[in-house]
Every structure is written in C-alpha cells, then in structure tokens.
Symmetry: C2
Subunit: 178 residues, 2 copies
Amino acid sequence: MLAVALELFARNGVSGTSIQMIADELGVTKAAVYFQFNAKEELLRAVVAPALEEMRRVTEEAEARRRPADQLSAALTGVVDMIINNSRLNAVVWADPAVSRLTREDPILRDLVARLDRILAGPDPDVEALVTTVMVSGGLMAATTDPRLADLDKDVLRRQLLNTARRMLGLRAIRDQV
Amino acid sequence: MLAVALELFARNGVSGTSIQMIADELGVTKAAVYFQFNAKEELLRAVVAPALEEMRRVTEEAEARRRPADQLSAALTGVVDMIINNSRLNAVVWADPAVSRLTREDPILRDLVARLDRILAGPDPDVEALVTTVMVSGGLMAATTDPRLADLDKDVLRRQLLNTARRMLGLRAIRDQV
C-alpha cells in the first residue's frame, strides 16, 4: 500500500491523490485503506518514514565525527546515497506543499533538518554559506528527478553528484570511489 | 484572477486547487471563471505565460552573443533575475507534476528549455557538465522557495545566487554588481 501511495503521490501530488484513488489502484475499498490509516496525512507520514529514519542515521553518523570537515564529508556522502536510493520519494518530497507543511510542523523532522543544516553550512553561516548550502541540497534533489539525468548509470550519477557537491562546498573531489 | 490562481496553486499545488476554490477566493461563481478559462490547464498556461515570455527573451538575448562564455554569462544573469522576480511562480513550477507534464508536452516550451540547456551545459555536454547544469538550475529554483533564505534582501540574494552559480559553472565571480 505504501508503494502504491508513493507512486500516486509522485504522479499527482499529495493534494491530487485521494484515498479513493489509492483504494482503486489496489483493488480494495476505501474503508480498507482507512482501516490502516486514519487520514491521508498519516499515510504520507508512513510513506516518508523510511527516508526519515535514514536521514536520522546519516545525521547521527556525521555528528559522531570529530572534525567539521569529516562531518561535512560524511553527511554529503550519506545524503547523496539517500537521494540516489529514493528517487520516487524525492519527487514527492521535492514537489509537494503537503510535505513542506509536514517539515515545518513536525518538531522531530524540523530538528533533524536543522542538525543536517548545521553540518552542511557550519554553525554560524554567513550569506554565502547559507546560499551555497541551499543550492547544493536543492541541486541534489533536482538531479534525482530531472529527466535529463534519468538514463545515467546510478553509480556514475552518484559519483558525479558527490563530486559536484563537494566542489560547490570547497571540498576536494573523491577519486576512484564508486 | 491570475494572481489568485497563482497563490492557490503555490499553496495547494495545481491538482489540489479546484476552479471552485478560485471562484470562492474571488467571490464570483464557478461559471464566471469558466467564462474566461475552459479548463484548469488553460488557467495554468495563462499563469505561466509571463514567465515563459521572459524566458524566451532571456534565451534570445543570450543566443545573440557571439562567444559561448558571454552567452552563458548572459543566460545566467537573466535566469537569476527571472527567478528572483517570480518567487511565487517558482514554487508552482518547481513543485508541480502538472507543470512538468506541461513542459514535457508543450513543443514551444520544450524547445525553449532545450535552447537554454544548450547555452548552460554547452552543445555536447559530458556527464559532468550535464550534472552540474541540472544542479545549478535546480539549486537556483530551490533557493527562491527555501524558507531559510526568505528573509534575505533581494539584491543580496540575487548577487549571491549569481556568484554561486558562476562558481559552480567555472566562471569568475562578478564584483560590485547589484
């Protein structure tokens, strides 16, 4: 059910997807969907949950490093892996006012985003660092949903995204890493 | 009516906005909206039209330069101006499956995007150029809708976006330009 919901969310947006549409796609009744999820928002949370868990893992592993440069490097690698492995979900997260609302309103998610930001932009970022961070994360998300990159081999894309992001943030490129 | 439609599209997504909602917000009947626009897609086209016109102007002005580096520089400046001046619209364009569909299916818009891509990524881009271009344009769009940058002065944001994008594309920063 979560996979079907994700697919419909990605195709039509969260607002454009009704519980009825999800039920139809699964060949069950609306009541059967409501039996598991009280509301569409609950379903959206369930769809996003695995990515959230991965984001928490990436953030905590990066925070465990001592040097800020190592934290940044670990966070970037984790974020790139995460978005490469969740391209359908990115289309939703990226695309949807409902998800921005969730990010703004959920305290746990807000805290996680703030911690990841602190690693990527530094503890007290100036305008340049802030803009660069936003462009890097926005650029990474865009890259996984852009049709121009859809035919690239995943490992090639992964390496290229990582090195472009590292260059944008003033880190050295990683060689021979697949 | 276009301003109201844009605001509702940005807030709820295109799929999540009904003609009824637009009519309610304007305090008119649904019939009055349908009198001007036969379908929501027609309304969406009208909302997007001014930005499309500006995109055409930016592309043509860039194409008129002789040197590829000047073309790139002109296109970047134009694109940054465009997104700074249309932040509500970016939220829609960025956010919406309905708009991606429009971009894919409208031959005029597809041609325009392809021409702009050719200027930004070069005529026969390798993987690195392609990924960088997608990250730059995605990053620029993300920057105008990101809440972390919402309080920045427009001119500061404009200059910073332009210089970050130039750096990503291997161009020199522009100094003292407001």
